[in-house]
């Protein structure tokens, strides 16, 4: 028998804490890691952390706007990942590595 108690006990705050933790992890990844792929993944993590709080707020306030916003975020995240990966691939082809410092060569 599934104990649904635990679900009913989970409140808005829990989602928000999860969201905050994920966001901070993502941010730490962006600030600290040098690998461009990891960087993109961290950004993805931050975006999804935000998505969680959107959905949580939407559920608790009974309004749909938050969930609609999540779709937008996901779409943009997909586009961003595509562009970012394309850049990473090009950088890799040239330098045989995807270290973030090579992006400095994009400066004019």
């Amino acid at each position: 028998m599934l104990n649904t108690d635990i679900f009913t006990q989970i409140g808005l705050n829990h989602y928000l804490f999860l969201s905050a933790i994920l966001f901070v992890i993502g941010m730490a990844g962006v600030l600290l890691r040098r690998n461009a792929i990891v960087l993109l993944m961290s950004i993805e993590l931050m975006l999804n952390a935000v998505n969680i709080s959107f959905v949580a707020f939407s559920k608790y306030s009974g309004k749909m706007e938050g969930q609609i916003m999540v779709f937008f975020v996901m779409t943009i995240a997909a586009a961003e990942a595509a562009v970012g990966l394309a850049l990473a691939v090009t950088i890799f082809k040239r330098f045989r590595e995807v270290n973030i410092r090579f992006f400095e060569h994009l400066k004019g």
Partner: protein, 643 residues
């Protein structure tokens, strides 16, 4: 020919000459440059003669030609036309300017033959003629002022013509700066006249002058005329601004003849004559003018007694003769002033050109102690100089006699005159006779003191022809203005000049009937003393050449005082120039360097420092930027949550 065309030719011909020579200023040939410039001056002279004929053909009351070229400016009630007016007064001036000017151009062709900057020289000379014509022809004070400044500029350029010699360049600057002092006063005078009359046009001003004279020192008209006179002392080298003229002798000698003897320096006299009804309206100013003129005549003549440089003697003589002109206008004898201006233009230009001929022959030597006995080497120069000498010492019947005597008589007889003024003039005349005879004796007569390696020779025809023409004019021009008493004695000879000028010149008010006996006595006294003084000089410098040395030994202190020009230059240096320089230096140091400069440095330093600080933030590293964003986020959140 239309009047407009005639006047355009008159004025623009030298300007075109200036442009031609100015554009080819690097050429060296004096023949081509001099040819162009002389032709320009000669065309101008021809137009002047034609204008003179036109004027003579007109009925006596309407003798004037007014030409308005364009409206120069209109600001509120100030309306200035680029207008020129020819009338009997300035037709004489333009004849002198272009006539003597042409002769001096001709002389210069030969004199400047060896000079590298000949084209430049002739360009300046033509530019000078142009400006001088603008000065005398302008029908309002502002157009006159344009010419007034223009001749000042040309004078500066020509005094410093050999600017590689720093003394000569400095002399040019001295002339310019001293003139600027006068010009500032001239401007103030112009402002006051504009405030009083609402116009700067000569004719309108002269027509608006109130009938009764004003005796207040502080009335705007008295102040205005005084300021104009200060302007004239600058341009015409009177006390206290005469100091530039002797130094101006650094320029080429023909320049001294044209600018610093015959034409430019007489501009102040001309200006006062042009405004004679206005000046007659302010007797206080007239008194100042007469006193300054008389004092200048005596003081400059006394310095002339002691100088050794042939051109310096002539320069002080010029200052002194200009003093006579101011003495004349100061006592209301405007006709006599203009008459003396004219005769002086002839004989002083003659003497300056003669000295140029001597200097040329002596290989640029100007010290009369190293001359003597030049009579037999340079017969033509000597003979023409002799006529100039007779004219300047006032020997009848040469031109200087008539004009100087008219001035002396009227300074005694005019209600604005005074016996003391006559005495000043007479003392000046005695001194003039002495120093001019001394100059003749030391240069042309007596034993030769010429150095062994110098072989003086007569100058070429291009130089002697102008001398001869000027000598003829110096000898006979006096008959144009025969004084009444002599005219009557010789059978009613008219005073041609006075009649010709009667339209322009107001007669002296309340002039009493002339007392023939007094006039003849005064005339004999001044001529007699001048003769004695000349004979004394002859005796001292030709018969007993050791006498002057003994004499100066006896009055050593006085001689030094006069020889050093009364230390006026030194006094100006100590009392005005040095304090001014020191003040400027301290202002420069404390205000400019230590305050204004520093303040701007602070501002630029702050901006520069701020810039380098901010620049270090923008290092191109992606993660650093992300860090800034994160820090910003944390701070914003902290702010919101903690609040």
């Amino acid at each position: 020919m239309s009047h407009q065309l005639l006047i355009s030719t008159l004025i623009l011909s030298p300007l075109i000459g200036f442009l031609i020579n100015g554009l080819r200023y690097k050429r060296h040939s004096a023949n081509v440059a001099g040819g162009v410039a002389t032709a320009a001056a000669a065309i101008s002279f021809l137009s002047a003669i034609l204008i003179f004929m036109e004027l003579l053909a007109m009925p006596k009351e309407g003798r004037q030609i007014a030409v308005n070229f364009f409206e120069w400016m209109t600001v509120a009630s100030l309306k200035i036309n680029m207008g020129f007016l020819v009338d009997p007064l300035n037709v004489i001036m333009i004849l002198i300017i272009t006539g003597v000017g042409s002769l001096i151009h001709l002389f210069s062709v030969s004199y400047m033959h060896h000079d590298e900057g000949a084209a430049k020289y002739f360009a300046y000379l033509n530019l000078f003629l142009f400006n001088m014509l603008v000065l005398v022809l302008g029908d309002n004070l502002l157009v006159m002022f344009v010419g007034w400044e223009g001749v000042g500029l040309c004078s500066y350029l020509l005094i410093g013509f050999w600017f590689k010699d720093s003394d000569k360049a400095a002399a040019g600057m001295k002339a310019f700066v001293t003139n600027r002092v006068g010009d500032a006063a001239f401007l103030l005078g112009m402002f006051l006249l504009f405030v009083s009359f609402g116009t700067l046009n000569f004719q309108e001003i002269n027509n608006m002058v109130p009938a009764d004279p004003t005796f207040s020192w502080l009335s705007p008209l008295t102040l205005g005329t005084l300021f104009l006179f200060i302007g004239a002392t600058g341009k015409s080298a009177q006390i206290p601004l005469y100091v530039w003229l002797p130094d101006a002798m650094a320029g080429p000698t023909p320049v001294s003849a044209l600018i610093h003897a015959a034409t430019m320096v007489t501009a102040g006299v001309y200006m006062i004559i042009r405004l004679n009804p206005l000046f007659l309206h302010t007797p206080n100013t007239m008194l100042v003018i007469a006193i300054i003129g008389g004092l200048t005549a005596v003081m400059a003549a006394s310095i002339g007694l002691t100088q050794w440089d042939i051109k310096k003697v002539l320069a002080y003589s010029t200052v002194s003769q200009l003093g006579y002109m101011f003495l004349a206008v100061g006592v209301g004898a405007f006709t006599a002033g203009l008459f003396h201006l004219m005769t002086h233009a002839f004989f002083k230009a003659l003497m300056f050109l003669g000295s140029g001929s001597v200097i040329h022959a002596m290989h640029e030597e100007q010290d009369i102690r190293k001359m003597g006995g030049l009579k037999k080497h340079m017969p033509i120069t000597h003979f023409t100089f002799l006529i100039g000498w007779l004219a300047i010492i006032g020997m009848p019947p040469f031109s200087g006699f008539f004009s100087k005597d008219e001035i002396l008589w009227l300074s005694f007889h005019s209600p604005l005159g005074h016996p003391a003024l006559w005495a000043l003039g007479a003392v000046g005349a005695v001194m003039t006779a002495f120093y001019m005879t001394r100059l003749m004796a030391l240069t042309f007569w007596g034993k030769s003191r010429v150095p062994q390696d110098v072989h003086p020779h007569e100058s070429p025809a291009l130089m002697t022809i102008p001398l001869i023409v000027l000598a003829i004019l110096s000898a006979f021009a006096g008959w144009l203005g025969v004084p009444h008493v002599i005219g009557a004695a010789l059978g009613h000879l008219p005073n041609i000049l006075a009649e010709f000028l009667s339209l322009n010149i107001k007669p002296i008010p309340n002039l009493a009937e002339a007392n023939v006996t007094t006039e003849i006595i005064l005339m004999s006294v001044s001529v007699g003393f001048a003769l004695i003084s000349a004979a004394l000089a002859y005796h001292m410098y030709v018969r007993n050449p050791e006498l002057p040395g003994k004499f100066t030994e006896k009055v050593k202190g006085l001689h030094n005082f006069v020889y050093n020009k009364y230390f006026v230059d030194e006094a100006y240096e100590g009392s005005i120039i040095q304090p001014l320089v020191q003040t400027s230096k301290s202002i420069w140091f404390y205000v400019d360097v230590n305050f204004i400069d520093k303040a701007t440095y602070w501002i630029s330093d702050i901006i520069k420092g701020g810039g380098s600080l901010v620049r270090s933030l923008q290092n191109g590293n992606l993660q650093t930027y992300a860090m800034y964003v994160a820090i910003g986020l944390v701070m914003t959140l902290t702010f919101i949550l903690v609040r």
